[in-house]
Assembly symmetry: C2
Homo-oligomer: 319 residues x 2
């Protein structure tokens, strides 16, 4: 941010307009310039003019920056992405692609949870070099949990419970569970997730044997589920198809736990039920209209099997 | 770019420094301010000061921007990425992930070549919304060519031959063949491809049954090939493992053509031989040292088979 780097603008701190450039601009410039004039004695009108010129330009650019985002809400909503991960031959490319996607998203914190006892150096290095805001946790799946990221997601929620303010800085935050092998359009984050108030929901491509799984929506209200697989579930939605207000998760203490396994191994309805919401409260995105787009797909990268002890890696970092 | 939007700075056009901010800054400010003073009659010294302040700030921010790139070379080298593609259930997610990756790379032009007779609306839409510089061509594979992108890559080269200046604006350009299902770290583009003078070469992960295929390098010179598959090839390298100066391709008229098929179906050595270079001329990247990293992997997304006529797509765009 321009204003952070320029000592002159510190005099204007606290008068940055949330309300946008058009109505408030001239007032802000005036107050800002008045403050600078008070703290400085200028020897010549020309020098005074130079300072005013600098301030006007910086203030203008700063405010243009504030306004370049579509909505005020976008600036004030943080996206927290939780990704359970595990060691496999295609994990580094999968995580790298997700990293590349998240690099395009502002105001985001990425929590990666290793299903293992310790940090994997290749993953640490990739994250360090990414330039992203991230937290890399390690929790080997505990007895009783299925090995499908449930325990890792629960540990991420626990971490958020203990570090909420450090991560969000008090902003409204939306939690999204993003597996490392799926494919995400950047618009999913900025147009859907960023605008979630309590629980957002949308279609997902390539779920199981289906090209599409999506909420059935009429006039903005979810009235059922477009799916072939157990459409009678309370929330027939894939992990990639919803995002939840972090505050809601933390206040309801919702977790995946171990008991969802008994209900047929579908953790999503289990988790959503524990948030104490009904389908009326769901906020659907991109689910009405003529040409509906999928912005997330449940993809899987074909694994490559090899025995690291028998194959020459030529000194390259490989998992 | 800030300077494009500010009328005042038009007076300074042509005196923007390529050489960086430190030696030239004060001179530039002076020339710039002198020009503005010449074209304007200021009624008061204060007004004059304000204008000078505005100019100084804009010039400073503009030059900071110019210098924020790592190397001067980076600014002056364009990357042209050629991606052959074809319709399949996982094509939209694959192309979307590649789009997300390329969004992080400056000064890039993406040429996507459909193996089909006409533009696919879902692809066109994705590209239009991407914000990237791109060209979307369509060439159905001609008789005699294998259906593996050879014809599409040749058509992209032909397009570049006819539109070189429009695409590159006279800059040094490096051509890279990037299939849509592979995984690329953003550093591949900015640290390897961007620095290629004639032919760059590097390791690729997950090629065929091997975790790594890479050039064997000693003191910066390629002395052989780390591969299990036909290591006696003249250039035992995967399509994802090299990038070539566009000028070299256009001057040598190198093409994939149909005859490489006869040589065992390995188009890479065939194409590289036609560039008239020996291994001495190869510029290796990241191929020496203790911990070598892979920045590109030959991944494949598991396909999902379904019959669009029998499956409900619920109005979503699906291939």
């Amino acid at each position: 941010m321009i204003s952070d780097n320029v000592p002159l603008l510190k005099h204007c701190h606290g008068i940055e307009a949330d309300q946008g450039i058009h109505p408030a601009t001239s007032h802000i410039f005036q107050v800002c310039i008045d403050r600078i004039m008070k703290v400085s004695n200028f020897r010549t009108p020309m020098l005074k003019g130079i300072v005013i010129g600098v301030v006007i330009t910086l203030a203008f650019l700063h405010l243009s920056n504030v306004n370049s985002n579509d909505a005020v809400q976008s600036k004030d909503t943080m996206i927290v992405v939780v990704t359970p991960t595990y060691r496999r031959s295609v994990r580094l490319p999968d995580l790298t692609r997700l990293k590349n996607t998240l690099l395009n998203i502002a105001n985001l914190h990425w929590i990666i949870v290793e299903d293992g006892p310790s940090a994997v150096p290749a993953v640490s290095r990739m994250l360090q070099m990414s330039g992203l805001n991230y937290t890399y946790l390690q929790y080997k799946t505990k007895f009783g949990y299925p090995r499908r990221g449930w325990y890792q997601r629960d540990m991420a929620i626990e971490y958020l419970e203990n570090n909420k303010h450090t991560i969000t800085g008090g902003q409204h935050a939306v939690l999204y569970f993003a597996d490392d092998d799926n494919s995400y359009d950047t618009r999913l984050f900025d147009e859907y997730i960023r605008n979630v108030k309590k629980i957002g929901i949308w279609g997902v491509g390539l779920v199981g044997t289906m090209p599409v799984e999506a909420p059935a929506v009429e006039n903005g209200v979810v009235v059922g589920w477009h799916t072939d697989w157990r459409p009678n579930r309370s929330f027939a939605v894939d992990m990639a198809g919803f995002a939840v207000s972090l505050d809601l998760v933390l206040t309801t203490k919702a977790r995946f736990g171990t008991s969802c396994e008994k209900a047929g191994g579908s953790p999503e309805p289990c988790f959503l039920e524990r948030l104490g919401i009904s389908t009326d409260h769901l906020e659907p995105f991109g689910a009405e209209g003529v040409k509906k787009e999928l912005l997330v797909w449940h993809t899987h990268t074909s694994p490559l099997k090899y025995d690291k002890r028998k194959v020459d890696l030529y000194g390259y970092i490989v998992e």
